[in-house]
Structure formats: structure tokens, C-alpha cells
């Protein structure tokens, strides 16, 4: 069971309190009606599925209930960083250097 740091509660807590919520930094288009079928398909279904650091969303569902973002390495299953929703996508190179 992972330990996850909630950026809102500022506490590191057991995975049981959290729920995974898919890939991060995929904003819903401002006006979906203007999107082509291909663009809309990509928004709906196409995900990066990387081997390595993955930007993803989690929800502290059994805590403060906030959605937040995280960078987790899909190989080691290790969290590199968690940060608040709306904050910019962190730079991967500097993040890996810090590790």
C-alpha cells in the first residue's frame, strides 16, 4: 500500500484514503462543438500510458475530497511529486534530477 502526500492536507497518508482519477493535464475543450471527430476522439480516449513518470490525478476521497495532481513512476510505482489542481505541469527533467 502506497503512502500519498495530499497537497491540500499537507499530510502523507495511506493509499486507502485516495482514489485514482486518470491522466492529468487533459483539459476539457472550451467549446467541444468546434472539435473534429479526430480531435474529440483524442480528448476522450487517447492517453499517454508511459513507462516511467506519469502525470496523473488522484482524489483524497476519504479525506478533504479534493482532486490533485501527481507524478508517479509507473515502473517503480513511486510518487515523485504531488501538487494542487491548477498548478502548472512540473518540469520532468528537474524533478528526476532532484530524485
Amino acid at each position: 500500500m502506497l503512502l500519498i502526500h495530499c497537497p491540500y492536507c499537507d499530510e502523507t497518508l495511506p493509499e486507502l484514503e485516495f482514489a485514482y482519477a486518470g491522466e492529468a493535464h487533459i483539459a476539457r475543450p472550451e467549446d467541444p462543438s468546434t472539435m473534429s471527430d479526430e480531435e474529440w476522439r483524442d480528448f476522450l480516449f487517447i492517453r499517454s500510458n508511459p513507462k516511467g513518470p506519469h502525470f496523473e490525478r488522484w482524489r483524497h476521497v476519504h479525506g478533504c475530497a479534493r482532486f490533485f495532481n501527481a507524478v508517479r513512476d509507473t515502473v517503480s510505482d513511486r510518487f515523485l511529486l504531488t501538487y494542487k489542481a491548477g498548478e502548472p505541469r512540473p518540469d520532468l527533467a528537474s524533478l528526476e534530477a532532484a530524485q
Binding site: 482514489a19 476539457r28 462543438s33 474529440w40 475530497a65 513511486r78 489542481a85
Partner: protein, 997 residues
């Protein structure tokens, strides 16, 4: 006392005998014995039969790695356990155990015919033999294989024992209480660290228990052990015996399974049998020691052939000689010490067969002193004896050539192929392994967790090395935790360090096709099988493993992995590290399902949610059904009615007069705030802006992919407040989805979302007399059709309680849903029952609710939809606010797939014979005479007998169904093919006149 037990010797209590039975024969052992040691004390080596060839087998180890001596143990009904290792099952008074895998008696097993036919059963036998004809699989091959394969027999009764589980937080967890683990715990505890020390055995000490001659700091090993355990206890170290670290998970979470009662003569009522601990440790020391490897030669599996280290353990821990005439065969120094100790205890060591040409001179000298014949540079080419080894054939090896055989009589053959570190837990962490060419073994490499590995677990050998390394690991861990620590030096006398060589199969003069040299004893995998697998194209060690089943037995390759790898690498022609090791997976040793389940069984398997009205339903004989986590009243049988009769009566009563239904489980979410209406417009398909306060609307919620996710009636209580209802199972999902959009897509909207499911009790009244029942109880609102038309909502008082009163209908009848604060739910229900008495008010359950709604063609999301159904498919196109610029899922309604012809659409189905009730899930075809496999065009989603209509009704999803009304379709079922006609889904009162009361 038998001739094999040495009076006074060992750690067993010679004053306390314990009676037990094995295969219906009574035996006695001593307190402190295992089943294996007690049987060995009677000269019994034959304890089981092997899995595939039914070969006679005896214990090869004295520990948890045991592959052979698997027994069934019993302690009364429901307390039968198969596949228990006789080497770890402690003796208890009255223990009943039996051998396994035999057809007939253990000494004469009819299944052993497999053994004579072994050339017919090579690696991959099942894959090769049972491929065809296909039709033989179900009736012949599978039943026969199932009967022949598998270990032990599964218990059939419910397990009456309880299993506990706990969490534990520790600064330092030390796994293994041998010399390294003890010193690690000691140094860390002395430095002030909060330490937990666990060991899978009944007592702590590890290898020290098998080597009492060693002296540590001037004290005999066992005195030092006592003093050390006393000091650990006084330092507050949590000491846990019979506790196996079964798995090492992320971020230093370790699972421990603690056995609590299996060793006790009597068990207290309700005492848990085992306890699963989930430990989160800041640091971990793995001090798991090393596992002795068998040597691979023809006949190495015969009872009486065992590891030399195991014989040493039986001697010192249990005071048991494993035989009277022993031959040793070894490639490692350690076996000499076992030989010398046995010789001192009176076992005649006939010979030490040494595979190395030049063993250390000191050991040669010691053997000479004891008059033991040492055959250096020799090999073993076979053993004989039917149920017990009687002789061993040894040959000299010179320049790779195997010389003339010599037969030596013996009653036990003790082997040692060297030692391999126990890497299991370390491997669970995905730590990398490093090949050590000198010792021909893998050692722990790069760590991924905050852990230290000490002693034999990282390839060190000898007590001084292990103790010193453990002390260092403990001090390192303490320092990592911010404590000051410095490992104190230790002195060790009579230490037994040593080295050895590794082998593949031992050299032999037998024809290779006649050699049966076992690697994986439990799965009957021989060296030849491994080589055959490679010849047949398996190159990856993972493929070799699966093809041969090497390492897949319950010992998880503890005995077999390294030997298998060495042989596979040789056959592939690569170095072992290039071939690599298969993955070790948790659990470390077989673990009961009960320990994993813990409290999650029976009534506490999961939470049961009950409504405030549930006690009334129970008192009035309701039959319940689970709906998500809720238990809901299913129907209320009266006077011996069956379900069909009860549901028919409930349906008729509701349509004729009035029915009452507990709808409290409906999901409820309050959407409040200045932007509430905008939020609702964006979330739901329907338009909400023009919905006036006091009115409600049926809302449809889509996923962004355009498929129906949920539905429910939504009331607008004021400009800024919506009372949203969801399906019973969908409430948490819907709230999560709403929160997701609100928090992450539209954080600018000023809206609050609150789950109110459990705040409101909801009672539904349906039927032409519903208003009459309610009227007298309502204050503050006019219930007339003009003042309160269908699909309206009001805040008022009902039966004296503050209420949100909805006029809506899920039955097609005049209907009301009364929400009151949950604590008043039961009182409201009782008041309505009282008020309804003149109208024969009838309580109904979920089944009647389902029938009534189906008669009207109302869908149940998740039953009539399956996550691929768009609103148009379900006939809900009318619920879409087409003028709205956007809502969740709107863009997807124009996706190519969603506008393509031939989508499955929801229709009604009426069977030709109204007495036939179709099965939900039944497949539909257009032409019943087409050849197999038929083209299936859809399936039945809902099907009931309708008392109102006096016939069966059904709903179905059918390709292009909306254009097929009036057409016949067919449902091939085991009892015959049914014909049914496609209809509208509105079976009853299609124009809704009954709502207009």
C-alpha cells in the same frame, strides 16, 4: 523411547510426551517436536507421495522450505488443513494427520504406476498429449487430470475459526531472528530504536539452535541466546515468533502472518487462529539467512535422503538421529560439521562423498581423527531402497570421467550443494540481484526500499560474520533513524565458517535417458525435464519454469530455483546471470485464505446499509435483497405466499388502490449556490434554466463519451437549490463526477455539492388512492391536481415532520415521494400505514417496483443500459436539451459510432406465449434456422410476469430495434426456441392517463 531419540538432547521437553496419530497409527512425540521430528524419532521417513509420479518421499528439510513432507492436519469438523508441512507443524496433544497424494496405502500406492511409466510423462506432457480431440477435453482429460493433479484434498466445510488483523507501526522491523537478526535488533534497541523482531519458527535463534557448540563472547550459544532474548525483551523490543513475513510491499509495508493456536493442545473460545499484521516500518533489516541446496543426482528424492543441515537441526533441536548409518555427499564444508556432530551422537558415518577434488585440509584431518572415510573427487550416481534409502552408489571422477561404481549401504544420505541466500522478500521490492561468480549464486544488489540486508542473506557464512554483520545493520538502521549507534565487537569461538562449490547435475555413468535426478521435488521436475524444455525451444527462464513447472510448487522455488537455473543456463549455453532468475512472488510461504480475509467474512464481509424503515420491514416479514451495499425489502410475503404470488398481489393492490414503498436508498445530492442552475445545465442533458422552483424534471446524466451514466428526478426548490436524486447504486459515482467537473473544469462556478442520501428518509406512495392517504397528514401545501400537478415539489410538513414532498411517479400511477429527516422515517412510515388502512394500503418491495416500472417502460440504468447505451438508444432523445450549447457528453452524441445505423436500441418484447417469461440476458436472433454460430442481434434486459396485464413482458436491446416494431424475433434457449414480437416499451397506459388524477 525409540532408538533414534537421544535422551536429554535438544530443545524438546523430554519429560512431556505428546500423543498424535499419523495415517491412523498412534505415535508419541515430545513437547517441542514438529510432526516430522516426532516421526523421524520413530524411524519414519516415508511421509508422503509425490505429485506426478507418486514416488515415496520423506522430509528433505527441517524448515518451512519443505517440498515433500506435506500432510493433512485435523482438529475436528471444518478444521482440516491440507498441505501442511510436517517440518513446521508443531506437535500438539491429539493431533490427527494423514499423508497425501496416494491411491491406497502410503506404503503401496497404486498411483505409483505413473512412476514406472515416467518416459511417458516428460515436461510439457499435458500440453502435448491433451490437445486433441477437442471433444475429449471436458469429459475425459480434464476430470482425470483434476483427480490426478493437485495437492492434498480441499476441505469442504466452513472454516469455524476466526482470523484477526492489525496494523503496526515500527521504527525498525527485523525479519529473521537468527544470529544476524538478533544482533541487528539488539544494536538498534540499545540505540533507542523502537524495534519489532519477527521469526517464522516457534522459537528464536535460527541457526544457533542447530549449532550449540558455538561460543559467543565466552558463552555457549544457547546461554548467549537466552541472555540476548532477555535483553531484547527488557529493551521493549516486540518479539514475535511463529510469525512469517509473507510479503514486502511498497514503502516498507510488510505483511506478517502470525500463527496463534495451531500449536496449542486446547484453544480458547473465539481465540483467533492467525493474525495478519500490516506493518509500516521506517527501516527494515532482512536477516532471513540462507537455504541449503540439494545436490542433483539419480535417486536424490528417496526417503532417507535429506539435506545435511536438516539432519543437524533434527539432532540438535529435537535430539533426533535421522539414521544409524549415514553417507554424506557434499560440495560444501558445512556438511562436514553435520557429519561430525552425528558421529558424536552415535550415528555411524560410513563415508563422506566429497565432489571437490581437494576439500580443506582441516576438515580432512578432522574426518581422519573420527575414522570417517573421505571419498574426495567422487560423485553419487544412484540410490536404492523401496521406501527408504538402503544404499548409495558412488564413483570416482577423474578428468571429467566417471570411474567404477561402488555400492555403500546406509539408512540415510545427507546432501549439501551449498547455500543460497533467501532472496524472496528482497525480490518482492524489485531490488536488483547481482550474480556472484565466486559463490555461484545471486546476491542482493541495488535496493529500492529503506532496508538493510544482513548475514547469510547476503552471502556471508559463519557465525562471527553473521553476528558482526547483523550488529552493523542494526547500527546502520539506528543511525538512519537519527540515533547514535556503534556496533560493539563480538568474539566467537568454535565457529564453523566454510565454502563450497556449485554443481549442475552431478557427473554420472548412467545413460542420460535413465537418470531421474530431481530438482523440484514437489512438482517432480527432473534435470532432464529442464534440458528437454530448452531443446524444445524454451529460452527464457520464465518459459522453462512454466513448461516444466520448476519452482512453481508451494515452496516457491526455495529448493529448486538455483539448481534449475544452473542447468537451464548450461543447456542454453549462457552464463546464469544472462539467463536470470524467475520472479519470487508473495507470499513467502503458503498462507491461509482465512488470514487474508481476516474479519471480512460472513456478516462483516462488507458494510450493510439499512434504511430507517428497515426494522419495520424486518418485523413484517420482508424478504431482503442486496442492492449495492444496501439491503432492501424485496417483497413482503403474506401467509405462505411465494415470491411470484406476493409480487402479483403487491402490483395489483398498488394499481387498484395504493402501495407504499421505502425509497430511502435513492441517492440524493444537494446542488446549491448562485451558479447551481448553470452547473446543472452543464452536467445533465436537460435544460434547467426555465424549470421553475417548485417543479421537477427527469434528468439524464451522460459520461463525456455520450453514454448514459445515471438518471433520476430532480426538483428545483429555489433559484439556487436543486434536490438531485440518483440511482441507488450510483450516488457516490455521480457525486464524484460532479465534484470532478466542479473542482477541475469549472472551479469558477459558485456551487456547493452535498451528499444527502442518508439525511432523508424517502417513502413513495403510489396508486389511485395515494392522495387520499396523504391528504390528512400534510400541512402547508395544497395537494390538488391543479395546485400540485405531476412533477412538482414542495416544502411542507407531513405527519408533523418537516418534509420535501415530490409528486412524481415511477409506477405510472398517481405518486408522491415524501422525504423527511431520516430520524423521522420510521414514524412517517407508520403514520402513512395508519392513514392508509381504510384503503388497504399495501407495502411493496423492490421486485414490485421493478415490475410496475417495466409495465410503463421506465428504464433502470445499469439493467436496461450497460455503459454503451446513448440516450437515443434508450428512447430518451426527448430528454436532451438540444438548444443548450454544451453539456457533458453532448459532443459525443455526434460521434460517428453514435449516429451510425444498426445501434442496439431498447424495445419491448412480447412472447408469443404469454406464459413464457424470458430469461434476462437471453440472446436474440432474427432467423432461428440459420447455421451455428448464429448471428446474435441483441439481448433481453428486463423480464417479468405482469399481473396487471396477465402475461409476461420484457425489454430488450436489439440492433436497429426502433425500426422493427411488429417484427418477430427468436430466442434459442436450452428448453426450446421462443418467438417474441417487438413492441413499444410502454406496455401499460401508454398515454399516461392514470397520472392525471
Amino acid at each position: 523411547m525409540s532408538q533414534f531419540r537421544i535422551p536429554g538432547k535438544g530443545r524438546v521437553d523430554h519429560a512431556k510426551t505428546v500423543r498424535f496419530a499419523f495415517d491412523n497409527r498412534e505415535y508419541t512425540g515430545l513437547r517441542g517436536d514438529t510432526v516430522a521430528s516426532a516421526l523421524l524419532a520413530h524411524g519414519v521417513h516415508l511421509m508422503g507421495r509425490s505429485f506426478k509420479y507418486h514416488r515415496p518421499r520423506g522430509p528433505v528439510t527441517a524448515d518451512s522450505a519443505e517440498p515433500n513432507a506435506l500432510i493433512g492436519t485435523s482438529r475436528g469438523p471444518g478444521r482440516f488443513e491440507p498441505n501442511t508441512r510436517a517440518t513446521v507443524q508443531e506437535l500438539r496433544e491429539g493431533l490427527i494427520c494423514e499423508s497425501q497424494n496416494r491411491l491406497g496405502a502410503l506404503s503401496f500406492d497404486f498411483g505409483a504406476v505413473n512412476d514406472a511409466l515416467y518416459p511417458l510423462f516428460p515436461a510439457g506432457f499435458y500440453y502435448k498429449t491433451f490437445m486433441w480431440p477437442r471433444s475429449f477435453w471436458d469429459k475425459l482429460y480434464e476430470p482425470v487430470i483434476r483427480r490426478a493433479a493437485g495437492l492434498g484434498r480441499a476441505p469442504s466445510e466452513v472454516d469455524p475459526d476466526t482470523y484477526a488483523s492489525r496494523y503496526l507501526h515500527a521504527d525498525l522491523l527485523v525479519v529473521g531472528a537468527g544470529p544476524s537478526g538478533l544482533m541487528a535488533a539488539l544494536e538498534a534497541a540499545r540505540a533507542g530504536v523502537r524495534v519489532t523482531l519477527v521469526d517464522e519458527n516457534a522459537e528464536m535463534g535460527g541457526a544457533l539452535l542447530s549449532d550449540p557448540g558455538v561460543e559467543i563472547d565466552g558463552r555457549p550459544a544457547w546461554d548467549w541466546l537466552d541472555a540476548t532474548l532477555a535483553e531484547l525483551a527488557s529493551l521493549g523490543v516486540r518479539l514475535m515468533t511463529r510469525t512469517t513475513a509473507i510479503g514486502y510491499y511498497h514503502q516498507n509495508m510488510i505483511g506478517l502472518c502470525q500463527k496463534l493456536t495451531d500449536h496449542l493442545d486446547e484453544i480458547a473460545d473465539n481465540a483467533p487462529r492467525e493474525r495478519m499484521w500490516r506493518v509500516r516500518a521506517t527501516r527494515v533489516v532482512l536477516a532471513q539467512g540462507a537455504l541449503e541446496k540439494p545436490l542433483v543426482f539419480h535417486g536424490n528424492d528417496r526417503p532417507g535422503v535429506m539435506l545435511a543441515g536438516a539432519a543437524q537441526t533434527y539432532l540438535h533441536r529435537y535430539g533426533v538421529k535421522v539414521g544409524t548409518r549415514a553417507v554424506i555427499v557434499t560440495s560444501h564444508d558445512s556438511a562436514y560439521h553435520a557429519a561430525f556432530d552425528l558421529a558424536a551422537a552415535g550415528t555411524r558415518i560410513v563415508a563422506i562423498v566429497e565432489t571437490r577434488a581437494a576439500p580443506p585440509e582441516t576438515l580432512r584431518a578432522e574426518a581422519r581423527v573420527r575414522g570417517i572415510e573421505l571419498l574426495a573427487g567422487h560423485t553419487v550416481t544412484g540410490t536404492r531402497g523401496r521406501l527408504r534409502v538402503a544404499s548409495v552408489t558412488v564413483n570416482p571422477v577423474q578428468g571429467g570421467r566417471v570411474g567404477e561404481p561402488r555400492m555403500i549401504h546406509c539408512d540415510c544420505l545427507l546432501m549439501s550443494g551449498g547455500w543460497t541466500p533467501s532472496l524472496h522478500l528482497f525480490s518482492h521490492t524489485k531490488g536488483s540481484l547481482q550474480w556472484d561468480a565466486e559463490s555461484n549464486t545471486f546476491l542482493p544488489g541495488r535496493m529500492t526500499e529503506n532496508c538493510h540486508i544482513a548475514g547469510a542473506g547476503r552471502g556471508l557464512w559463519g557465525f562471527e560474520a553473521a553476528l558482526t554483520d547483523g550488529a552493523k545493520a542494526g547500527a546502520d538502521a539506528a543511525r538512519a533513524l537519527g540515533n547514535e549507534a556503534k556496533a560493539a565487537p563480538l568474539s566467537v569461538a568454535h565457529d564453523r565458517p566454510g565454502t563450497g562449490e556449485s554443481h549442475r547435475e552431478l557427473p554420472t555413468d548412467r545413460r542420460s535417458s535413465r537418470v531421474r535426478a530431481f530438482i523440484d521435488f514437489q512438482n517432480d521436475v527432473t534435470a532432464k525435464d529442464i534440458r528437454l524444455a530448452v531443446r524444445e525451444g524454451m529460452r527464457s527462464i520464465e518459459h522453462v519454469k512454466r513448461y516444466t513447472t520448476n519452482g512453481m510448487a508451494t515452496d516457491q522455488g526455495k529448493m529448486s530455483n538455483i539448481n534449475g537455473l544452473m542447468i537451464a543456463a548450461d543447456a542454453v549455453g549462457k552464463a546464469p546471470p544472462e539467463v536470470g532468475l524467475t520472479t519470487f512472488r508473495p507470499p513467502y510461504t503458503p498462507t491461509t485464505f482465512g488470514a487474508f480475509a481476516g474479519y471480512h467474512r460472513g456478516a462483516t464481509f462488507e458494510v450493510t446499509r439499512r434504511t430507517p424503515i428497515d426494522p419495520w420491514a424486518e418485523a413484517n416479514g420482508a424478504v431482503f435483497e442486496p442492492v449495492s451495499l444496501w439491503r432492501r425489502a424485496w417483497y413482503f410475503p403474506k401467509g405462505g405466499e411465494d415470491m411470484e404470488a406476493a409480487v402479483a398481489r403487491e402490483c395489483r393492490a398498488t394499481r387498484a388502490s395504493v402501495g407504499i414503498f421505502d425509497a430511502s436508498t435513492l441517492g440524493k445530492i444537494e446542488v446549491a449556490g448562485p451558479d447551481a442552475v448553470e452547473f446543472m445545465n452543464r452536467m445533465y442533458t436537460n435544460p434547467w434554466t426555465k424549470l421553475a422552483p417548485g417543479r421537477c424534471r427527469y434528468g439524464v446524466l451522460l459520461g463525456e463519451d455520450g453514454y448514459i451514466r445515471d438518471d433520476g428526478v430532480i426538483g428545483r426548490l429555489s433559484d439556487e437549490l436543486f434536490h438531485v436524486t440518483t440511482t441507488t447504486g450510483g450516488a457516490p459515482r455521480v457525486l464524484n463526477m460532479m465534484e470532478d467537473y466542479l473542482q477541475t473544469e469549472w472551479p469558477d462556478l459558485d456551487v456547493w455539492l452535498t451528499s444527502t442520501t442518508e439525511q432523508w428518509a424517502t417513502v413513495a406512495l403510489n396508486g389511485p388512492n395515494a392522495r387520499k392517504v396523504l391528504e390528512g397528514l400534510v400541512e402547508g401545501v395544497d395537494l390538488s391536481a391543479e395546485a400540485m400537478p405531476h412533477m412538482s415539489v414542495a416544502e411542507c410538513r407531513v405527519a408533523g415532520f418537516p418534509a420535501r414532498l415530490f409528486r412524481l411517479s415511477f409506477t405510472g400511477e398517481l405518486g408522491f415521494e415524501i422525504n423527511v429527516p431520516a430520524r423521522h422515517g420510521l414514524a412517517l412510515w407508520e403514520a402513512l400505514m395508519e392513514a392508509g388502512r381504510p384503503h388497504d394500503i399495501t407495502p411493496y418491495g423492490t421486485e414490485t417496483m421493478h415490475v410496475l416500472r417495466a409495465e410503463k417502460g421506465f428504464i433502470i440504468v445499469g439493467q436496461d443500459t450497460d455503459g454503451t447505451v446513448a440516450p437515443e438508444d434508450a428512447g430518451l432523445g426527448w430528454a436532451i436539451g438540444k438548444k443548450k450549447p454544451d453539456f457533458v457528453g453532448k459532443r459525443s452524441l455526434a460521434r460517428p459510432d453514435l449516429v451510425a445505423p444498426g445501434r442496439k436500441q431498447l424495445v419491448g418484447l412480447l412472447t408469443e406465449d404469454g406464459g413464457v417469461k424470458l430469461e434476462e440476458g437471453a440472446q436474440i436472433v432474427l432467423d432461428p434456422d440459420q447455421p451455428l454460430p448464429m448471428k446474435m442481434v441483441g439481448h433481453v434486459t428486463s423480464s417479468y410476469h405482469s399481473a396487471t396485464l396477465g402475461r409476461s413482458i420484457a425489454m430488450a436491446l436489439i440492433e436497429g430495434g426502433h425500426d422493427m416494431e411488429g417484427r418477430d424475433v427468436y430466442l434459442p434457449m436450452p428448453d426450446g426456441t421462443h418467438r417474441a414480437r417487438i413492441t413499444s416499451t410502454a406496455f401499460y397506459d401508454p398515454d399516461g392517463s392514470r397520472l392525471k388524477l
